[in-house]
């Protein structure tokens, strides 16, 4: 049985201007030790998918439908109290903005110890302290012991992100959700952090959901990929299928428009137009107005198709 199985998840926001269907019928699953990538452009619903799993959706938003089966329980049915015990323990999340995960007025050491002591009641302060130093070493933070006494602002962006990852790993979670963990970092530091996350997920046998807009990053790290567009998954399958044999026109376009190091061509392939607002979605396929293959058939939303284990939503894929 999969460690996490999300079925037909719908998370909607009931705003004054209408219902924003941020996540509208997503289904995916992840096994122990597996890495799943969720890609898509800004506003596609990636973060809200992650927040939904953790039960972090606030009003005017609400999970309106679906199941989130994690390790034998449906998280949607749990109370806030029960969820709090799981968050930061069995499931932890690295948020898009590292600033939000670190309290600026408390030392790194104190914040980390608090995270252990909250979930592990029997642990002594001294043991917690040593565990923190250990994990900071594991994530490759230079001068780890000394850094326990540092405040967040005394660290560089890459160092802060290492601390955030260390905190997420403290209680050896079964599932780690990382939302754009390296977007704010330089490529050389990004490569270090990605390498580290891959190594740690192998060592700890934890599952990882990597949320990013960068399909190249996803291809380097993930076993499976879900491509989101305007609140819905449009294609979902193994990394090999999605990257090297994409079937959905949007996935194809995303890969085609990447600048390539080994490409002599001057102009880049471009997808015309922009993703529609979730309050003004077109009738039929949401990608219709940007798609070179669209015709009358696309005026109805395509049904789910399964092709050799890959899921795709497009009329023209047969």
């Amino acid at each position: 049985m999969a460690l996490l199985e999300v079925k037909n998840l719908k998370t909607h926001f009931f705003t004054r201007n209408g219902v924003v269907k941020s996540v509208d019928g997503s289904s995916f699953s992840i096994e122990k030790g597996e890495i799943l990538g969720i890609v898509g452009e800004s506003g596609a619903g990636k973060s809200i998918t992650g927040f939904s799993i953790l039960g972090l959706i606030d009003s005017p938003g609400r999970i309106v439908e679906g199941e989130i089966n994690f390790d034998g329980k449906d998280l949607i049915k749990l109370s806030e109290n029960e969820l709090q015990k799981i968050r930061g323990d069995e499931i932890s999340m690295i948020f898009q903005d590292p600033q939000t995960s670190l309290n600026p007025v408390i030392t790194i050491g104190e914040q980390m110890m608090e995270a252990i002591l909250y979930h592990k009641k029997g642990v002594s302060k001294k043991a917690a302290y040593e565990a923190c130093v250990e994990i900071l070493k594991t994530v490759g933070l230079p001068a780890a012991r000394k850094r326990m006494k540092s405040y967040p602002h005394q660290l560089s962006g890459g160092m802060k992100q290492r601390v955030v990852i260390a905190m997420a790993l403290l209680n050896n979670p079964k599932l780690l959700i990382a939302d754009e963990p390296t977007t704010a970092l330089d490529v050389t530091i990004q490569a270090q952090i990605l390498y580290l996350m891959k190594k740690l997920s192998q060592e700890f046998h934890s599952a990882l959901i990597l949320i990013t807009h960068d399909i190249a990053v996803v291809s380097q790290l993930c076993d499976k990929i879900a491509v989101m567009y305007a609140g819905r998954i449009v294609e979902y399958g193994s990394k090999e299928d999605i990257i090297f044999n994409p079937l959905h026109p949007y996935t194809k376009g995303l890969i085609e428009c990447l600048p390539k190091l080994n490409d002599e061509k001057k102009r880049l392939y471009q997808i015309p137009g922009i993703m529609p607002s979730l309050l003004g979605l077109p009738q039929g396929c949401y990608f219709k107005n940007r798609c070179e293959f669209s015709d009358d058939e696309c005026d109805t939303y395509p049904l789910q198709q399964e092709i050799n284990g890959r899921i795709v939503f497009c009329h023209k894929v047969k």
Binding site: A191, L221, L258, Q270, P272
Partner: protein, 329 residues
């Protein structure tokens, strides 16, 4: 540097030092730029590549006049403008325009798009109202802005649309030099390609010269003629695009190439990444600035600060160790 190329702007030994507070009473020098030199040729694109904080924006702001250089010269039309503010630059001011990284904060939120585009024409030309309108509409066609946008405000647009507007604002005076500071990094991937193509089209149409600033080396392949790689406030490698991509020499450039995420290459391995911290521009080390992250480091790298050295055909490299290995030095 082929003889046929004409220099539009020369940056010579430019230094920029900021005084920063490091404690309640202590102030220290932050060396944002250390003896930076390069030429920009007419009609060509020079890309400045390097990671966050290495001084790329500072170079752009010195050229634009938003910062005054501490030392060195910036020669444009036979004048040294390195220490002049925009208002001291007279006529030259309108010939250098900048496109900023963040399309959200770079446009005045209280002004209609029409006003944003018309203002530079009012200040710097004596066009009539009709002529200004004509010029704006023509440019709208070029950058893909719908005429109806002109009556709206910046917040009513997406990041990509705003960047088109910012490009239009930079182009409206037909500047000779465009400084583009990370113009696509805040945009979604599918929009990045649109804007990059647009910039290349406009450059061709208006024969503009461009300094393209980016942290993303995969992007520069498409847009540059020459590339300068920066690290901690100095240029560590300079070459034509073709030469740099075929034959990157400096250890930092090689590290950049090997860590760019790419669907056809696996994740960089541990050996490339076994590196120390980036040094701070406040307490620069003796010797090579890249020493803590360099896998080719030798004893001598910690003593002497390396100079930029021409390894042939104007391919400049700031690393004696790699040059020795290929038998150049």
């Amino acid at each position: 540097m082929s003889q046929s190329e004409v220099k539009l702007l020369e940056v010579k030994e430019v230094e920029k030092i900021f005084g920063v507070k490091v404690g309640a009473f202590e102030k220290k020098d932050l060396h944002a730029l250390n003896r930076v030199s390069f030429d920009i040729y007419k009609g060509k694109t020079l890309s400045l590549v390097g990671e966050s904080g290495c001084g790329k924006t500072t170079v752009g702001k010195v050229i634009l006049g938003l910062y005054q250089a501490t030392k060195g010269e910036v020669i444009f039309r036979d004048r040294d403008i390195a220490k002049l503010t925009p208002s001291q630059r007279g006529d030259i001011q309108k010939d250098i325009q900048m496109i900023f990284q963040d399309p959200y904060s770079s446009l005045n939120p209280r002004k209609k798009i029409k006003t944003i585009l018309e203002q530079p024409l009012k200040i710097h030309t004596n066009m009539t109202k009709e002529q200004r309108k004509e010029a704006i509409l023509l440019l709208c066609d070029d950058v893909g802005i719908d005429y109806s946008y002109l009556e709206r405000y910046p917040h009513q647009f997406s990041g990509g649309q705003r960047q088109r507007i910012a490009i239009a604002r930079a182009m409206i005076l037909k500047p000779e030099l465009i400084l583009a500071d990370e113009p696509i990094s805040a945009l979604d991937v599918s929009i990045q390609a649109q804007i990059l193509n647009l910039m290349m089209d406009l450059q061709e149409k208006y024969h503009a010269t461009m300094l393209f600033i980016t942290h993303d080396i995969s992007v520069v392949k498409h847009i540059s003629d020459y590339i300068a790689v920066m690290y901690l406030g100095e240029i560590v490698e300079y070459a034509s695009k073709k030469e740099l991509f075929a034959n990157p020499k400096h250890p930092y450039t090689k590290m950049l190439f090997s860590t760019v995420p790419d669907i056809h290459t696996p994740l960089a391995t541990e050996s490339v990444l076994k590196t120390g911290e980036i040094q701070s521009p406040i307490d620069l080390p003796q010797g090579c600035f890249f020493q803590n992250r360099c896998q080719y480091k030798e004893e001598s790298c910690m003593q002497t600060h390396p100079e930029l050295y021409d390894s042939g055909e104007n391919h400049l490299v700031r690393c004696p160790i790699v040059l020795q290995k290929v038998g150049i030095k």
